[in-house]
């Protein structure tokens, strides 16, 4: 065993380090460390991915039209950025997705609550929800056009049919995992049906519900991309889905890749800025913080 004094010295150093490590109060250093921990690794991952791509391309395994050069894609991307059209494209899709998702949450949450808590409703429409989830969005496009016309209404219809079942199902499985003892506690504390849902069921199911919301967001976003293919017209504006389709219909791989990257960025951004912090705070508050 090491000499005690020496150990003590080392410990002093280490505990000194620990003080830096475990902030006793939110210090100014925090944002920097946080950046290093949350933003840097995905950035590194992206850089590595691009490097591999560049290598693959440089090795010329595949002809250019099969795998465009990163630079070509970047040029296309940058052209969209520098002429400003990228902001319009992202904004068009983003605001639709946000509205569609919000409406999906407003409809899906009570629906999920009903399905989870009323056995009859569960067995009647529970499987239907799962069935609807597996219906591809394109299936609804003809009906949407006929019923709602080439308007935003048709797009929202398709998006909602994608997001609502998924959000509802997420809530159902979140609720299914709630410890029954908490509900019994609620009853003895005087919670009625509604109060129990509001004060016990929903907060208790929150971690699972959040997971469902995340998947629901992915569903609405994908459905939106499909819905945006319905029509490209000045009234509807050019969204990400339509931009992707443009690349596709011109057999223009750089545009297709630029669109994929844009969609990825938006997805990653939403995850990093919205879902990740939400999840962290919810899990932290319950002592479930991830490793």
């Amino acid at each position: 065993m090491a000499h005690p004094d020496h150990v003590a010295d080392l410990d002093a150093v280490r505990s000194g380090l620990d003080v830096l490590d475990a902030p006793p109060a939110p210090t100014a250093r925090r944002p920097g460390r946080r950046f290093a921990r949350t933003v840097l690794p995905p950035l590194v991952a992206v850089v590595v991915a691009v490097a591999v791509w560049q290598l693959l391309w440089a090795a010329a395994f595949w002809p250019e039209y099969k795998l465009p050069a990163p630079l070509t894609v970047w040029d296309e991307f940058w052209a969209r950025v520098s002429d400003g059209s990228v902001f319009g494209i992202v904004w068009t899709s983003m605001h639709r997705a946000v509205i569609g998702f919000a409406v999906g949450v407003v409809i899906g949450t009570p629906l999920g609550l009903l399905v989870a808590r009323l056995p009859l409703v569960r067995s009647a429409i529970g499987p239907l929800l799962s069935g609807l989830q597996s219906l591809p969005s394109v299936a609804w496009v003809p009906a949407a056009v006929l019923w709602f016309g080439i308007k935003d209404g048709a797009i929202y219809f398709v998006v909602l049919l994608g997001s609502v079942p998924s959000i509802a199902n997420g809530l159902v499985s979140g609720i299914d995992q709630v410890q029954p003892i908490l509900l019994r506690v609620g009853t003895t504390l005087g919670a009625g049906r509604l109060a129990a849902a509001r004060h016990i069921l929903l907060p208790a199911a929150l971690p699972g519900y959040l997971a469902g919301l995340k998947q629901g967001w992915a569903f609405s976003w994908r459905s939106l991309m499909a819905a945006e293919l319905i029509a490209v017209s000045p009234q509807l504006g050019l969204g990400l889905g339509a931009y992707l389709e443009q690349g596709r219909s011109f057999s223009d791989m750089p545009t297709v890749f630029a669109a994929i990257l844009l969609i990825l960025f938006v997805g990653i951004g939403v995850d990093l800025l919205l879902f990740r912090p939400l999840e962290r705070s919810v899990l932290r508050a319950r002592g479930l913080a991830p490793a």
Binding site: P142, V145, G149, I150, A231, Q235, S249, F250, S251
Partner: protein
């Protein structure tokens, strides 16, 4: 320093007849020669021991990608995707024959009778930058209507639905959709694209082949072309039967068929012909610049390779076709 493509140029040597040839087309009237040829066994008859595998597509882009990806050897495809694929891939594919020409119209609501009445209205085309889109935009600019007409890009079936619902006022559409709008939805023809081209001919469907396949298996390509010629000849001799045969072929592939009225009208609008209308491609490429969908016209040098076709024609004592300067030189 990079290869232009693993299948680029016409490298590779003649390896005789292929064991298998993979043929792609659409279950659609504009692909009539392919449907008739497959259905009546005209390709297999000419191919002998070579196995024929068919694939049907819904999108020209996917079919072009399949050709570029090497999972298809010969395809009946729209002229637009063919030009695109050629330009993007640096000559990985070539057009070896025409198949169908004509068959696109601007159909509109019956109360629209002059171009000027289109102001403020919405007209649909299948997708941005495709043949009909370019034609419409060029026509609009010629009529000084650019920016006064809303151009929406919609899948043809969606255009049909949207027209019936009243969301669009017309469409520049290929067959059979222009006929469906006229027959099933009461639209009227405002412009027949035929009237805009010399002799009323413009390429709708062409036959393309992977350059490498052509170099390695010219005999097989020739056999498929022979089958195409047979199909077109037969259809020319029996127009009514041909229409029915196409409809039956479509039904076999998709469980759905066109009504007789639509079929007849659509068939009368198209011409089955092996002539690829070589002279029009440069114009088509130029038009897309005029219409503002691309900035520079793609170079089409080497787009056409009519050698095999001309050999065939020579064998039948028919006049050779000219590549209008887009051949291999």
């Amino acid at each position: 320093d990079r290869a232009t493509g693993d299948t680029g140029g016409s490298g590779g040597q003649d390896k005789g007849a292929a064991a298998e040839v993979r043929l792609g087309y659409f279950p659609n009237v504009t692909h009539a020669p392919a449907i008739v040829g497959v259905d009546r066994g005209l390709f297999t008859g000419r191919l002998g021991a070579t196995k024929l595998t068919t694939q049907t597509f819904n999108s020209g882009t996917d079919e072009a990608n399949a050709l570029l990806g090497g999972s298809l050897d010969i395809g009946f495809i729209g002229s637009g995707p063919a030009i695109n694929a050629f330009a993007k891939s640096g000559g990985t594919i070539k057009v070896i024959s025409g198949a169908v020409s004509g068959g696109a119209q601007l159909v509109v609501k019956p109360d629209i009778t002059t171009p000027a009445q289109l102001k403020g209205k919405t007209v649909a085309t299948p997708s941005k930058g495709n043949t009909q889109d370019v034609s419409l935009k060029k026509w609009l600019s010629q009529n000084k209507l650019t920016d006064q007409v809303n151009v929406a890009n919609l899948d043809n079936p969606q255009t049909f639905d949207a027209f019936r619902k009243g969301d669009v006022d017309g469409g520049w559409l290929p067959e059979p959709w222009s006929s469906r709008l006229v027959v099933d939805a009461g639209a009227k023809v405002l412009v027949d694209e035929k009237s805009l081209w010399p002799q009323g001919r413009f390429p709708t469907t062409v036959v393309v082949v992977r350059s490498q396949f052509l170099a390695e298996h010219p005999a097989t390509v020739k056999a498929v072309l022979q089958g195409t010629v047979d199909a077109i000849d037969w259809a020319g001799a029996h127009p009514a039967e041909a229409a029915t045969a196409v409809n039956d072929g479509i039904e076999k592939l998709t469980h759905s068929k066109l009504s007789q009225a639509v079929l007849d009208r659509a068939f009368s609008g198209i011409t089955l012909d092996i002539d690829p209308d070589s002279a029009t491609y440069s114009q088509l490429a130029q038009d897309s610049v005029t219409a503002g969908v691309v900035k520079t016209a793609p170079g089409l040098q080497g787009f056409l390779d009519l050698k095999t076709l001309n050999e065939l024609l020579a064998g039948q004592h028919r006049p050779a076709l000219d590549a209008a300067g887009l051949g291999n030189g």
